[in-house]
Subunit: 173 residues, 2 copies
DNA sequence: CGACTTGTTCGGCTCGTTCCGAACGATCGG
DNA sequence: CCGATCGTTCGGAACGAGCCGAACAAGTCG
């Protein structure tokens, strides 16, 4: 009876991770797969994940690839036995967040800023008050992106503990 | 000719905002509506946004509601003239981010932690090494969420400038 | 070499989202 | 009170995302 209770509790937590995944723009399946890996005492292969989660093999293949891309699981392309690749979870959440920020937000900001800079160049050739207004607004956008970018770079280079301490010390003045 | 060029440049920037919106989980229309509001010298009503964007009136209605919910535009339920509500953009991006984090991430973390705490309570009644392992992992999850939550609370209470300065000072040791 | 296991890719189904047009309220000036 | 204007809501079409099963490729062990 206690064994049932234990797996019920684990199911609850895994389901909770699935819901969290949806909030942050991932699929339910991604959350569940991560949850199963998180509770597993050893890395799991795709057939094992199929067994544990009930998803189709193709789904597991796609989901594991996505999770690997964003740094939530690692591929141990391994090794000896019959199984070829095995997955283990990245358990440092802030590290995951940092990875995602670096890959997506940072890239997006860079391309947007390139667009803004090109736009400003083109506006130099245009006369009139309205054009100057537009240029001012675009410069303001650029400044915002610039600040977010530098903050982002600083933040992802530190642990949560360091960041909390930094802000605490800053507040202490 | 310069007038064409000016609107072409603005179109470019607005389109860029539309693409950015997609990256961050919003619709293209939301990005474009925000862009039009951003370049407008005065708050715009729904018919005006229809005119400027080409979207259907219903689309504008839904999009403005969504943008208002997440704090990207403000409703100036308005005064005097024939028009009733008018929208103006929130131009402080970090403020927008903070708003979203407070509304979504923070709420999500709280509900998840409630689930984790309930799970730990239930596991107290279960014996065995495996149950103890599960409890350890859940406690580790809980600790991660706790740290992210406190960091989040600290971060959204400061401006980007303050945060950058705080980290810079911290690094200066 | 041939049977088996593992992982990827492909086509199809389903469901949610986005956007539209039309119908429906609600508010204001005359 | 009536017409006009503004905003919301409803039903539907087009599109994309998630998931599945089946076919396919690649490597392993007998």
């Amino acid at each position: 009876m206690t064994e049932d209770e234990r797996s019920a509790v684990r199911e609850e937590v895994i389901e909770s991770l699935a819901r969290s995944a949806e909030v942050y723009g991932l699929s339910r399946s991604a959350g569940r797969v991560y949850g199963v890996l998180y509770f597993s005492s050893e890395p799991l292969s795709i057939p094992e994940l199929v067994e544990e989660t009930g998803y189709a093999k193709s789904t597991i293949s796609n989901v594991t690839r996505k999770l690997t891309r964003i740094g939530m699981v690692r591929r141990r392309s391994s090794g000896g036995g019959g199984r070829r690749v095995r997955f283990e979870p990245e358990t440092d959440f802030w590290f995951i967040v940092g990875d995602v920020l670096r890959q997506y937000a940072h890239r997006e900001m860079q391309t947007t800023r390139r667009t803004l800079d090109r736009a400003l160049d083109r506006l130099d050739d245009v006369d009139g008050e309205a054009a100057r207004d537009d240029a001012d607004r675009i410069r303001a956008l650029d400044a915002q992106y610039d600040q977010l970018e530098t903050l982002l770079e600083l933040a992802v280079d530190h642990s949560t503990e360091e960041l909390i301490e930094a802000i605490d010390q800053y507040e202490a003045d």
